[in-house]
């Protein structure tokens, strides 16, 4: 695909996401699709399926790319994220058991396995290519559920999903493009552009939430790009803030539990500022640790999460360079 065609699809993704998010903000009123913004003093009620907008724009662009010759990798970069988004939408309209959700999130890995869109010889920086033919498919399935939960755990503030994943997507797009994996590079950029369109309405003070549909889609795209572009370890490093956050939550809550069922909250909101909880037993999260010393506004916390993500993406790039730049 030419650079002009590539740029056209990325711009289309941005514009479509912007417009579709506006439609959701303006027209979604159903009680089942509305959530409360608990970090605002007036607790506004906002549409919680804003992720549907960038799911639609990303999928349309990647479907077009597949029809123009995107191949098997192009197909799984449409199907796997859509499966993950569908599971997220299901969770947005009805509460899922915290043990059922991780099991359901194994499903987006199945198209990757069915279409054999993976090479079971992951390239490990400093080690080289290792052959794990039997183990790799199991790791593929597990990766979707781990990354989806980790990305979802950071989607707690206005703009935090977009700001925490944009550096990862830019890194994956840059390396994929340099190595010659055009389709994963397009997927990363198309999603990044879609997220920017969505951010117009999700930035503080937000008028829409992304919902589980949005965070699941983002996680599934990142995972599929990591698998198809053979950037597994680089992606693991780039997602360190998300993975650490998930660890904090699991450790401090004593296992997989629904946040809604847990009365204790990691933070409080006082006069519009986010304050770390003073109670010893409350869950530990990235946001609680960021606001530990000083109370902060929601936008400032989101910017710090972005900074952490940018930092880990730089470490991920260093990991790639330490491992030796390779060509496809």
């Amino acid at each position: 695909m030419s650079v002009v065609g590539f740029a056209f699809l990325v711009l289309l993704s941005f514009a479509a996401s912007w417009m579709l998010t506006w439609v959701i903000v303006k027209y979604v009123r159903s009680a089942r699709l509305i959530g409360v913004d608990v970090h605002k003093p007036d607790r506004p009620r906002l549409p919680k399926i804003g992720g549907l907008a960038f799911t639609a724009s990303y999928s349309t662009v990647m479907l077009l790319h597949w029809l123009l010759g995107g191949g098997i990798v192009g197909l799984v970069l449409v199907v796997s994220p859509l499966v993950a988004a569908a599971i997220g939408l299901l969770e947005d309209v009805r509460e899922l058991n915290p043990w059922v959700k991780p099991l359901l999130l194994l499903l987006p890995g199945i198209p990757v396995l069915l279409f054999s869109a993976y090479i079971p010889y992951p390239i490990i920086p400093l080690v080289g290519s290792i052959r794990i033919t039997l183990l790799y498919p199991l790791l593929v399935l597990a990766a979707y559920t781990v990354v989806a939960n980790a990305v979802n755990s950071v989607d707690v503030l206005n703009g935090s999903l977009v700001l925490s994943t944009l550096p990862v997507l830019i890194l994956l797009a840059a390396i994929s493009w340099l190595v010659g994996w055009e389709t994963p590079a397009l997927a990363s950029l198309a999603l990044g552009a879609s997220l920017l369109g969505f951010l117009r309405y999700n930035w503080y003070p937000a008028r829409v939430f992304s919902g589980n549909i949005g965070s699941n889609l983002v996680a599934a795209v990142i995972t599929t790009v990591a698998i198809t572009a053979r950037l597994e370890v680089v992606t693991l490093v780039a997602l360190l803030p998300h993975i650490l956050n998930e660890f904090f939550i699991i450790v401090s809550m004593g296992g997989l539990k629904s946040g809604k069922a847990f009365a204790a909250r990691p933070i409080r909101v006082v006069k519009g500022m986010i304050v770390s909880s003073p109670r010893l037993g409350d869950p530990i999260t990235l946001v609680r640790l960021i606001t530990l010393q000083n109370p902060m506004g929601e936008a400032a916390v989101s910017k710090r999460i972005a900074l952490l993500s940018a930092y880990s993406s730089i470490l991920a790039l260093m990991t790639y360079l330490i491992g030796g730049v390779r060509l496809r």
């Binding site: 080690v127 183990l135 360190l240 803030p241 904090f248 770390s276 530990l292 952490l308 330490i322």
Partner: protein
């Protein structure tokens, strides 16, 4: 914020340490993977064990962060 930047750095440095250990200790120990299935199995098992140790280390980091958080509020 400094604690979190430090945590991420420590997690990354330890991961690089794991990769170096795999490449300099485990791989030379399990030479002959092409001819011996046992050597191949041993290589994968030892590498996974090291990776599991890294995950446990991350878990410990999370515990440390939670302790630090509590001390911060107590102090």
């Amino acid at each position: 914020m400094k604690t979190l930047l430090a945590l991420i750095t420590v997690a990354w440095v330890s991961l690089i340490g794991v990769l170096i250990a795999i490449s300099t200790i485990i791989l030379p120990l399990t030479q002959g993977v092409e001819s011996s299935p046992t050597a191949g199995l041993l290589r994968v098992a030892l590498s996974l064990a090291l990776f599991a140790a890294w995950l446990v280390w991350l878990f410990e980091l999370a515990l440390f962060a939670s302790l630090k958080s509590r001390q911060g509020r107590d102090g």
